[in-house]
Amino acid sequence: MSQPEILNQAFELGFTYTRSTGPVVGRFLTELKKRNIVGIKASDGRVIVPPMEYDPDTAEELSEFVEVGQEGEIISFAWVKHPREAHPSERPFAWAMIKLDGADVPMVHWVASDSEELVSTGARVKATWSDDTKGYITDIACFELV
């Protein structure tokens, strides 16, 4: 008796649609494509990076963009000893909350490092760009220790 053919279908977990990113998120992503990082001023003057459309405290619509530095400081981090398949690095790395120079709020990204011991709270890091920037958060390929 011949083996029955097994029906199978590839399944990708994720957003399988595109949508416009609007004037705030869109501006940030467009600037990434040009290898610039911009934040936005909150109601109380704090610079939020990546920019948010509305102030989380006052709900005020935000619109004042500010260019920030491409270097910053690690506010906190998690050392990933066993990277998952979906993770951006196959080698052990750190997820980090990074406060860029000129920003008042940390952003989440990842830090490449040869070992956990080299990473610390307060350490300085610098953005490294993808060869081909497309207007995605992943245009920042990673941060590297300075």
Partner: protein, 355 residues
């Protein structure tokens, strides 16, 4: 305002892998037990049904409909669903009864987390532009929160290990617990780090299972002649989706929700806190101002077993069980959702009159 009572609570065992059992098969035995507990035949005997589940766990749109099929929804029932933990299905049911649209409700939640890679699945509920495309997982976000607390001297690794050890010991008395044992903080501290600064034991396990609750007006509870606990307050508050904008070392939303739910109006004998990571139990107990006179997570909490989409309802159920058993007169139950305790619900439960 109508007083609302909990008259029944049941849950399945928390298991690491339910194998070939599907979601419906996880729910059915729990529903059978709760119908028996309350003395009703099926979902036709309550005025409203509300469930909590997550399509992302099942990997299909409108997957909760399978759960409704499990109820037997013919003749038609009044039914709703939240894409959240069933504690929020309870919240919706409380509103329904308060508005006078129902006198009784069945609430249930279920989740089968084992088939997927849960921390990665949950990464897709984060900000779709800034976080989800990076696939930053929930354990890593919690690890950064824990390090902030350690760096600032708010907690020590031993404090975290003590939380885990107490959970494992308390869970020895919980027949549904997945992780239990007579372990000490030193045993925990001897483990290597998993996602530094977290050890594997600092993280809740991945579990499959379901839980269910029946609530009704106090008048109906008396008519049914069942022991009950009164939901004297319930509120929920969400914080910003941007983790950088939050003080991750505190839980402002939990504190406010507890104030709004009237927690401070009396002493708290027992508290069940939804803390998927050990350091989060410390954040929560401090935000709520709980002291030595409160028994925290006597069930072992979710470190002993974490039924996604049902564990929040289970926290409320565990407090109900202790009040009805006479171990406590008043208790508080907390539920969380989102990364690093983003969204929090607090319910205050009081002893009902003796039937």
């Amino acid at each position: 305002m109508k007083e609302i009572a909990i008259v029944g609570y049941q849950q399945s065992d928390a298991v690491s892998d339910a194998g070939a059992q599907n979601e419906v098969e996880l729910i059915i035995p729990v529903l059978s037990r709760i119908f028996e507990q309350v003395g009703i035949t099926n979902a036709q005997d309550v005025d409203f049904v509300c469930s909590g589940s997550c399509d992302y766990l099942q990997g299909a749109a409108f997957a909760f409909v399978l759960g409704v099929d499990a109820l037997g929804a013919v003749p038609p029932i009044k039914e709703s669903h939240v894409e959240m933990d069933a504690a929020w299905a309870l919240y919706e049911s409380v509103l329904k009864i308060r508005m006078g649209h129902a006198d009784s409700a069945l609430v249930y939640g279920f989740g089968k987390s084992s088939p997927g890679e849960l921390p990665i699945v949950l990464s897709q509920q984060l900000d779709p532009y800034y976080l989800a495309p990076q696939w930053v997982d929930t354990i890593s976000l919690a690890a950064m929160q824990a390090r902030m607390m350690l760096d600032r001297g708010l907690i020590t690794e031993r404090d975290m290990a003590e939380v885990v050890a107490r959970s494992r010991r308390n869970a020895l008395d919980n027949p549904h617990a997945q992780l239990k044992g007579d372990v000490t903080a030193d045993d925990i501290l001897a483990e290597e780090t998993y996602l530094s600064p977290l050890r594997r034991s600092d993280c809740c396990p991945i579990s499959d299972g379901a839980s269910a609750m029946v609530i009704c007006t106090v008048e109906k509870a008396k008519a049914w002649g069942k022991p009950y606990a009164v939901i004297s307050g319930i509120d929920h508050i969400i914080e910003s989706h941007n983790p950088g904008m939050r003080d991750l070392t505190d839980s402002v939303s939990t504190r406010k929700a507890a104030e709004n739910a009237g927690m401070g109006k009396g002493k708290v004998d027992v508290a069940e806190l939804y803390a998927p990571f050990s350091h989060q139990e410390l954040i929560l107990s401090r935000a709520l101002g709980l002291g030595d006179d409160t028994n925290i997570n006597p069930s072992g909490g979710v470190l002993a077993g974490n039924l996604m989409m049902a564990s929040g309802l289970s926290r409320i159920g565990e407090v109900f069980n202790r009040i009805v058993a006479g171990d406590a007169e008043r208790g508080v139950a907390h539920t969380t959702s989102g990364p690093c305790l983003q969204h929090n619900l607090v319910a205050v439960l009081d002893k009902g009159e003796v039937a």
